[in-house]
Symmetry: C2
Subunit: 403 residues, 2 copies
């Protein structure tokens, strides 16, 4: 009997999704589960999306161009130019099946087998799986909760660079930490990339979620960055369109976009309805984005303040995305997250979170951390905090009793 | 300035799509282009698809489970069991973003870097790109037009197997040749795989397109195939749903399906609307499939007979998919296909085809072949034949004049 590949055996399951079967069992026992584990905004998908689909129902749901419908790419370029103030043309954009595929194409286009990419840890879990899939080694540089996950010092980043390094991969604002890197920090990374002849892959999937009046500074805004900056973007978080699976690889280096198109041709085309509807939401006015920001800033405040009242919980101060990554007073958040689903309830509710271990190439570094997505309304977030408070108390007692 | 990867430099552009810009130029000059280049059925998407989407519009277009909506997988298993007579359970199915992604996951799950897979040439062009992306070497065994692209003899297949070989990849019915492999041929390949401890990846995307009353024999029907058979399937061709981007990796080896799920988690989820609508069309009655078969059999007949009346054109007798791969009386079908778009017209029309070179790991083998997709109605196919006849005549004269 033939065996599956070593890479399939070694790739870790998603820390965000591996507890799903246990959550389903909890639900089948009647438990209500507050989902703080997944990066899925809860705000309604804009009605313009559905209206456009209704008005433009094709006779045959056919393939679009491999790089995306021309009209969609035009709308995308206009959106970047007008809403973000970043002048782009359609030739700078390759439409992809979500941000995930934009990352896959970036890895295939920029890296050979055995190449290295520098990432800041905690890092987005799926970068690790993607590295295994494409034969790329992730070289982590640590950021720390006691420094609010600030950018590592330049010499720490430069120490990670070897002759095999081809890029730095930044997630800004960061999934999973919520850290928003400032203009100065982004420029600093850009300067390192230029000095060492590296690409900068900037995953800006959460750029619409920036709080406290901070302006987001895109890697595309670095002067003379056209040769080395590749941005990963998606409609998923911006428009509550995770299920549409539409995103983009963006670069002013048209050689990169054209080479990436060959991978895009090999998978034929991105989803058609996501592009038809996506075209409409890319034309939404600025006020739409203000509403998102205000809603989620309140949630971040509520969650941060709430968690800080729980004894032993350490909460960083961060200003972006919709994640917090607190340190919990437990030995192993994997065991704790599982226990929450299997054993704990308060008024019929429990919470589901993503254990921190999956956001590190060395899982042991994340054993006390957890990623919490604030994708619920304020009353539910308050309830989640109450559940965590009570659960941590019971869990501490329980562990003493057992030992 | 950093350079793109070697693999991105060496991966060939899609033979099916590389002429698209030239076709667009032809159209902008007012030329009408008959698209025989792309595997995109022209029959309308079933109305049940659209009705279901209208009735089930979600508030938030959210992610589904990474391996697909449970209800979708149940419908898929029932469809295989009832329509195809192949008993399957949801645990045998991983929902993917089209057949293309099912292939990607199969390659990642079954092959390590440097492993080899045996393919029959002419082969589906995108297998070649996928091999480059995942670090797998395709080892071709030739099939020949003068044998109607029959399965190579077992000793030719076995001669291609080395210690690095992990699988045979079969496309049945074949894209690009239209060859339908018989039950005996499929069993023969299965026996070779079993003897050598190989996986059999059977791409059955076109299984609904079988003519002359021939019954399709799936690799899943080989007795005791549960450990080594992996089937690639898609809704694209079956339901005119190419743009929905929904397919499946199917295996009774649940270790393969569970390992493949980890790659699926790393890209989050397949498109949601494709699954909601797909659920409905998987419940269509058997008569739906009869209609497809009858419609396309007539087209195959018309095209085969028409092409055979053109001097110098050699047309194989094949019974599946919606492709014919004739040999044309030209030196280089790449140049001829381009010339058709750039220089030729008949009553304002020209045709677009996929040059044969892209369907071989050694492109020179395909220089006289072309893939023609019969995805147009009979009058348009007749017009396409007339255009080809006239074009070949002009092309022959023109070449004499130039030399």
């Amino acid at each position: 009997m033939p065996q599956i590949s070593l890479r399939a055996q070694t790739v870790p399951p998603s820390p965000i999704r591996k507890l799903v079967p246990i959550a389903q069992q909890a639900k089948s026992r009647g438990r209500k589960v507050l989902h703080l584990n997944i990066g899925q905004p809860d705000l309604p998908t804009p009605p313009e999306y559905w209206e456009t689909l209704r008005k433009n129902q094709p006779q045959v749901l056919d393939y679009t161009e491999s790089g995306g419908m021309p009209a969609f790419k035009e709308a995308y370029a206009r959106f970047y130019t007008e809403i973000y103030g970043i002048p782009l043309e359609p030739k700078h954009i390759l439409t992809t099946t979500g941000g995930s595929e934009a990352l896959l194409f970036a890895f295939l286009t920029l890296f050979n087998l055995g190449d290295e990419v520098v990432v800041i840890e905690p890092t987005y879990a799926n970068y690790i799986g993607l590295g295994t899939a494409t034969g790329i080694r992730l070289v982590p540089v640590q950021s720390y909760i006691h420094e609010d996950f600030a950018l590592p010092a330049p010499d720490a980043l430069e120490a990670a660079i070897t002759p095999k390094t081809r890029a730095i991969l930044l997630c800004n604002p960061s999934n999973p930490t919520g850290k928003l890197y400032s203009e100065a920090e982004v420029r600093q990374i850009g300067a390192i990339c230029r000095r060492h002849g590296l690409f900068l892959i900037s995953d800006e999937s959460y750029r619409d979620y920036c709080y406290d009046g901070e302006r987001f500074f895109s890697a595309l805004e670095i002067e003379d960055s056209s040769d080395f900056v590749v941005v990963i973007d998606t409609l998923s978080k911006r428009y509550s369109l995770c299920g549409a699976r539409v995103g983009a690889l963006i670069s002013r280096n048209t050689e990169v976009v054209e080479a990436a198109l060959k991978w895009a041709q090999a998978r034929l085309a991105p989803p058609t309805l996501g592009q038809i509807g996506g075209l409409a939401v890319l034309n939404l006015p600025k006020s739409y984005y203000d509403h998102i920001r205000e809603t989620f800033q309140k949630r971040r405040d509520t969650l941060t303040q709430g968690l800080r009242t729980i004894p032993g919980v350490q909460v960083p101060t961060v200003q972006g995305a919709f994640y917090l990554m607190p340190q919990l007073p437990v030995e192993d958040t994997d065991a704790f997250a599982r226990w929450l689903l299997e054993e704990f309830e308060q008024e019929g509710y429990t919470v589901m979170m993503a254990p921190g271990s999956g956001f590190f190439t060395d899982p042991s570094r994340g054993k006390k951390l957890a990623r919490i997505a604030y994708v619920l309304d304020l009353p539910h977030l308050e309830r989640a905090v109450a559940i965590l408070r009570a659960a941590l108390q019971v869990y501490a007692t329980r562990r003493v009793a057992v030992s």
